[in-house]
Amino acid sequence: MSLKPLLRILKILYFGTYLIKIHLTSYIASIINGALWFILILVPAMTFSEDVSKAFTIFLPGVLVLMSCGVAVAAAIEFLRWYVNQGLTDMFRECGLNVFSYLLSGVHIDTFIFGLLSYMLIGAASSYYVGLKPSAIIPLRPLYFMASLLTIIPAYLLIGSMTAYIYTVTRISSAWMLLAQMILTIGTLVPPSTSVNPLIYLINPATLASELARAAYGSNVVDESILIVLALPLSVIYIIIAYLLGVRSDRYISRYGLEYRY
């Protein structure tokens, strides 16, 4: 078996790790203002709930996934909008790096550093507001939490690639992508308990990771055995679709170009 694809992935991750230097200020600012925005929504939602500690363990895990997958939307738009203006998108593409590669390059930082730090900050701040101990954010079942972090990766790649594909083949403004980030709340922040069949929420690629994160606190809606069975095949399917969408976006750009647009 050739090691070439693996080496290529490692190179892309190495390149992405170095890109963090450029984005460091933005990351720090995003962690702070993301936490403040979530406080604005989460804390009242927890306060108005019947059982505050139960609300904490149901709503908070969704934030972990939502923060990371929200960055996927932003990263895709960055590649196709901001970098177009500076000619960087073409430069990346000439080096064989399409939007999928760009998303892949930052996925480890956006999940394990940005997502986790944001989660911890939001968790600590929310626990202060609602009068819980900061230790309430420590997962009861760390293995599920780790599984959630790992399943964020395929969800991140798929959501980013879907965003990129829609942005490339349509003429819509990037502002609409903010609405796409809102759709992601269904299944993540909004628990699947609101449907007769919670499995329907798995249409949102971020739901699986959110449910696994909730399972880490014992507040999952979809049965754990189903989550474990689905985790691997769904992750593989998400990655394949994301890769294909990245290729298709790139082909479209090769044929029709991509102008800078707001």
């Binding site: 604005l40 804390v43 939602a45 108005f48 019947e50 809102m182 709340t185 628990p191």
Partner: protein
């Protein structure tokens, strides 16, 4: 002034998608704040808890109306602050139109016009969604409520415009920050989180509350809540007093700093 008005109208047309998002986002936030707890609790418990915070017994329709009205502060604070800071920065640092501005006017006048005129238009544009929403639910009375809310928001936004102009001046002319949006994006949620929209003041960390007190937003939250609850004679003295003090302070500071900056930039 004419140029500013013209540009704002053109921008409204050009960035309509952003304005639509600015109508949808606060509506979604107000919905989420009630919908999320309802997904795991009895709806009556949620109404009781919300009622205890606002101090008046409400039904579900009133809760939705109150949260929707309160949400109008969100786009006002974020759009006014973000836009005033980022426009000044990009015009002087990215777009290189500074020479055109300096040839036609002074930085002081330019800043004051930006800080006082643009927020009026932006506030009207970002809160337009309230007109159909309130009229649909409350009928003609909804229009009256909207006018009261709009007046409170307009006064708040003028102070916020001057407040943002001070930050914009410091970021653009007195520092070497390459990513001003990281600051511009963090100020609005800090003000909003410290102002206690949907929350009781005692539960807010003192540092955030103190930061929010540098703007009239906490007082606007109280006033808008009273208007939204339909109390016949809201006490506006506190809001007006704080707004007047902050308006005159920031007006003086922006004027003074504007003159200094004008000399510095022309040199």
């Amino acid at each position: 002034m004419k140029a500013l008005l013209y540009r704002e109208l053109i921008w409204f047309k050009r960035f309509l998608a952003d304005y639509i998002v600015s109508w949808v986002l606060p509506s979604a936030i107000s919905f989420m704040i009630i919908y999320l707890p309802v997904t795991i609790s009895d709806v009556n418990v949620v109404i009781d808890k919300f009622s205890s915070i606002v101090g008046v017994r409400l039904d579900i329709t009133s809760v939705i109306i109150v949260t929707l009205i309160m949400s109008s502060l969100i786009p006002v604070v974020s759009v006014v602050i973000n836009d005033i800071i980022q426009t000044l920065f990009s015009e002087f640092k990215f777009l290189e139109v500074s020479s055109t501005i300096l040839e036609t006017t002074t930085i002081r006048r330019y800043l004051l016009a930006n800080a006082l005129v643009r927020p009026i238009l932006m506030t009207f544009f970002v809160t337009m969604y309230l007109i159909p929403a309130l009229t649909a639910v409350l009928g003609l009375h909804g229009l009256v409520v909207y006018i009261y809310i709009e007046l409170a928001l307009q006064l708040t936004s003028m102070v916020l415009g001057l407040y943002a102009a001070l930050f914009a001046m410091l970021i653009t002319f007195y520092t070497n920050i390459s990513r001003p949006w990281s600051i511009a994006n963090s100020i609005p949620p800090a003000i909003l989180a410290g102002s206690g929209i949907y929350l009781q003041a005692y539960s807010i960390p003192p540092i955030l509350r103190l930061f929010a007190q540098t703007t009239p937003v906490p007082q606007a939250v109280e006033l808008i809540q009273v208007i939204a609850l339909g109390m016949s004679a809201p006490n506006i003295t506190h809001f007006l007093a704080v707004t007047a003090v902050l308006l005159s302070t920031y007006l003086t500071l922006t004027g003074f700093m504007g003159v200094k900056t004008d000399i510095k930039v022309r040199k």
